[in-house]
Assembly symmetry: C2
Homo-oligomer: 337 residues x 2
DNA sequence: TTGTAAGCGTTATCAA
DNA sequence: TTGATAACGCTTACAA
């Protein structure tokens, strides 16, 4: 069968304990000994058995990433940030999707986590989702991305601020009749939807523009959702002159709806999104960019810190990551009538 | 500490062996006994220790997915297909990226696989990449996506045919001066690049059009790569009237280059891609769509079959998955001069 | 600095 | 159908 630690020990003329210590770079091993053990191990092409190591040590050396979607831009980009950090740290990354969209019946993730991973990273699962609660109830080291939850470390942007920036941009361009495309207004607090909604309304208030609820159009955070929402706005008797879409993908859909109506973003209606999606540049969409990969990277680092530390959740209340307005052709000053 | 199998055995009044059998639905257990054991286990909130189980059984119940990129559309979409199958089968999915692009020094994946997973899924790593060879040399159950390799099961589309379809479409529209945007012509055989190149040239030959090498422009399979390649074509004395881009993302870049030059896809130059990228519809790009999620799903199923079967690689030489031409506004008949 | 040996929590063989 | 019990391959007190 495969080479075991005993084979290495025998070949190096030491005990298995010493091999174990030497190979893991633990202190209290003679340099000569360590070197010899490492050489022998290499010669024998020895690889440690993770199962045995995990059983004996109680640590799994792996973390789970729980995400609602894998194939969407935001989530896969976050994931790539997470992966790069975990890979460097030599930690196994278990990927688990919890999407229930495709009619797939999905087991709740919590039971699959126990005794299997040392920690969990959760990407943008709404704060009121029962699955999130189950995961948090496990009490293991956890790091949240794009959601906040009392007492649990999380990495986010300032969604209120991001929405404010987008809305302010439109207001500064002279627009009064500003439409809103986003998730349902009844979203749970501490979610991106909720906060972006709030930021938008704040700016409208401050500008002395009262938001006409008929200009709010809601749907899924997808291209299709944005298209539908924009279509609704375009069939209004009095169209908005500018629209704030809560995500770039919704804005893409909005653009398509506009094109179907023979309208052009920037010329006929100004449009701004949030994300900094790769495709936004192509479509010439003004957007408030967020550092998506960094979200993942930093959350992963925070999780590693918990793992290496006491194992307790250390909610160091990190400040939100910065966002940046990128002005492109989809927004323009309100044409004087 | 945590509940173990012995606690369950004690509480149910049976041996640990029986608990193990009952909980895994093995035969030769009395129905009464099985039921009682399951109830007791549930009451005690018992979860099996994967490490212990793996150590004792020799199976890890997990597979690794090795991919060059995580955040790119093709790869994340394949990944989502893979994940849905593995999740249903109760198999852990270990995600490993091998991208060396971002200057990140990445350990070769092979050593990280040994004794850690029961099988491997590899997404679109070129057939001549040494990392792929290392992985294959492990001799474990393996399933390839988007590459073929003698003796190893793989799931692909017919890239030659896909390219033929795209090229034929342009030829049928009356174009003679057709440009090519893609990966370097010196690509390794059995890769998408190589085959798409071949399919394109075949059609040109068959149509009696001889391909002027100056109309071939090569770069990375990215938006930026496509933009650069198209820019080069546009600065030619005699521009092509139509262009075949080997991927939709390259076509997106090509579109941007055209716009910079005041040209419009379909009107001034016809453009066709390959992929069926979600964004293609938005950009009105004609493309040859491939069933990307299915690629992942089917490859995962093939891997599961190996796992459940003899453990040997069963190269059942599955036929390539079908592709489909989707005609949109970016291609049009050659305007009669 | 090194070795001894008792776990870690299952699975699987063999016998009953 | 069930039970004893020997692996599985490592880690980690504790001793030396």
């Amino acid at each position: 069968m495969a080479i075991t630690i005993r084979d290495v020990a025998r070949a190096a003329g030491v005990s298995t304990a010493t091999v174990s210590r030497a190979l893991r770079d633990l202190p209290n091993v003679d340099d000569q000994t360590r070197l010899r053990v490492q050489q022998v191990a290499a010669e024998l092409d020895y690889v440690i058995s993770p199962s045995a190591s995990r059983l004996a040590s109680g640590r799994t050396g792996s973390v789970a990433v729980i995400t609602p979607y894998i194939a969407r831009w935001f989530f896969s980009t976050v994931l790539s940030g997470v992966e790069s950090v975990l890979q460097s740290a030599g930690i196994d990354l278990l990927l688990m999707s919890v999407s229930n969209s495709s009619g797939q019946l999905r087991l709740p993730p919590a039971p699959r986590l126990r005794r299997r991973v040392d920690g969990v990273l959760v990407i943008a699962i709404p704060a009121d989702d029962p699955q999130l609660h189950e995961v948090l109830a496990l009490g293991m080291p956890t790091s949240l991305i794009g959601v906040t939850f009392e007492g649990v470390p999380s990495v986010t942007i300032d969604d209120v601020q991001a929405a404010r920036t987008a809305a302010r941009h439109l207001v500064n361009l002279g627009h009064h009749r500003i439409g809103l495309i986003g998730g349902a207004p009844g979203a749970a607090p501490f979610t991106a939807e909720y906060d972006r909604h709030r930021g938008f309304l704040e700016v409208m208030d401050e500008a002395g523009l009262q938001f006409d609820p008929i200009l709010g159009s809601y749907g899924h955070f997808t291209v299709a959702g944005g298209e539908q929402a924009m279509t609704d706005l375009l069939t209004l008797p009095a169209r908005p002159t500018a629209v704030f879409a809560m995500s770039d993908e919704m804005a893409f859909g909005a653009m398509r709806a506009m094109r179907s109506h023979g309208l052009q973003p920037g010329r006929d209606i100004s449009l701004v999104g949030i994300d900094g999606h790769e495709i936004s540049e192509l479509l010439d969409l003004t957007t408030v960019a967020q550092p998506v990969q960094d979200l993942g990277r930093i959350a992963a680092e925070a999780l590693l810190a918990q793992l290496h530390g006491s194992g307790e959740r250390t909610d160091e209340s990190t400040r939100p990551l910065p966002t940046q307005l990128i002005v492109r052709g989809s927004t323009a000053p309100l044409a004087r009538p």
